[in-house]
Chain length 235, copies 2
């Protein structure tokens, strides 16, 4: 099966959580818009009469299926790529972790866009500063502390136990993203979640992920995605 | 199977999306904290050694399973309660719609709490006003317009076609919530999404939902949940 991923070609964004799963599994896939340009996305999203239109990217074409919503794509890919348990309890648990990552990603995004994504960051700086303060004071400890607890209870080395899942890959991305966006704050915080940092490093060292990260396929972080480096927010 | 729902007893909140599914199906369930008080939730969430700890409520106990994240609970309940297709494509599509509802609910919540849930609404009014303006200018038309399109393309009467799913129940709640929180704005907006309004009415008229809405089990909307009526935000 050749998968087709539709996502913005200039950012890691939400598409990166899917890219990481496809890369780790060595799946056959095309990153469509990087090959054919943004217009391919507009054509897909606005396709007249499409019965299952995506609200937004990423979207994945898998044969006749067209699937959107990052966590939903991973729900589909997980068991097929060997990146999620196939039993009901294990599949639901892995998905539950992913949905918690989703919430955290949304909250992270809103640190730089607390008012509206229609406005530039520069037009919402006071609110962004305040939201970021509360984000680091309450939300980062709560979310990352939660994942640290899950990891400790799983028996390791992965979030759900002995086998790597897409949720581990996503947490790798969360740690990498926070390090990029908030280098100072994250450096201070990391000692509180040593298990997650070790998990991040284990993911980064996996042969296919390592090769991917060193390749041109891995887009650099930048100031158009979820994780943006704004010095004003990194006290 | 007797299901146990764990959710805050004083609000509709995210738990309501699960309650509506259980009620429509006539499922055997206990709303645990309404019976035994808030402390039951704390005991569940903080249970030592629980391998699948919820990050937050709602959580559902189904036999030995403990499932959290609203959309994940509905993913599990859907086919079991006759509220979602059982084939892969249909299940993923229904879940995709639910995840889009989830995003919209989060954005709706943040209209009154754009800076932090740790602060009172009164401490973030200027940001809330601004966020609400953009929410109604861009996000409501985008989200509700999307669902209106999906409904039109499905052939009706429901979002996925001829059979009611949990996504329809959730959209009912979204319409009801927006009407409560923003009565003036919503009144002006409704004519743009006649299909969704008709869907809302069809859900409200279903015998079990009608009985539920008229019962004491349906908590009233109030100013502690997702949908809050603040005159300042309803221009």
């Amino acid at each position: 099966m050749r998968y087709e991923l539709y996502y913005w070609p200039g950012i890691q964004g939400r598409g990166e959580f899917v890219r990481l799963a496809l890369e780790e599994a060595g799946a056959d896939y095309v990153d469509v818009a990087r090959k054919r340009g943004d217009a391919a996305i507009a054509r897909l999203v606005e396709r007249k009469g499409e019965k299952h239109p995506p609200f937004a990217c990423p979207a994945l074409k898998a044969g006749k299926l067209l699937i959107a919503q990052t966590a939903n794509i991973l729900l589909y890919l997980g068991p097929r790529l060997g990146l999620a348990p196939k039993d009901v309890a294990g599949a639901l648990w892995t998905h539950q972790l992913q949905l918690t990552v989703t919430d955290f990603v949304m909250e992270t995004h809103d640190t730089h866009h607390p008012i509206s994504s229609q406005l530039y960051f520069e037009d919402q700086i006071p609110a962004a500063k305040k939201r970021t303060e509360y984000f680091w004071r309450y939300r980062v400890p709560k979310f990352l502390g939660y994942f640290e607890t899950v990891l400790a209870r799983s028996g390791g080395p992965w979030l759900t136990g002995r086998r790597l899942t897409y949720a581990d890959l996503s947490l790798f991305q969360v740690v990498a993203g926070l390090r990029y966006a908030f280098p100072k704050r994250m450096r201070r915080f990391e000692k509180k979640v040593p298990g997650l940092i070790a998990l991040h490093d284990r993911v980064a060292a996996r042969p296919r992920i390592k090769a991917y990260l060193a390749s041109a396929r891995r887009l650099p972080f930048n100031e158009w995605g979820i994780y943006r480096q704004y010095k004003l927010l990194d006290a």
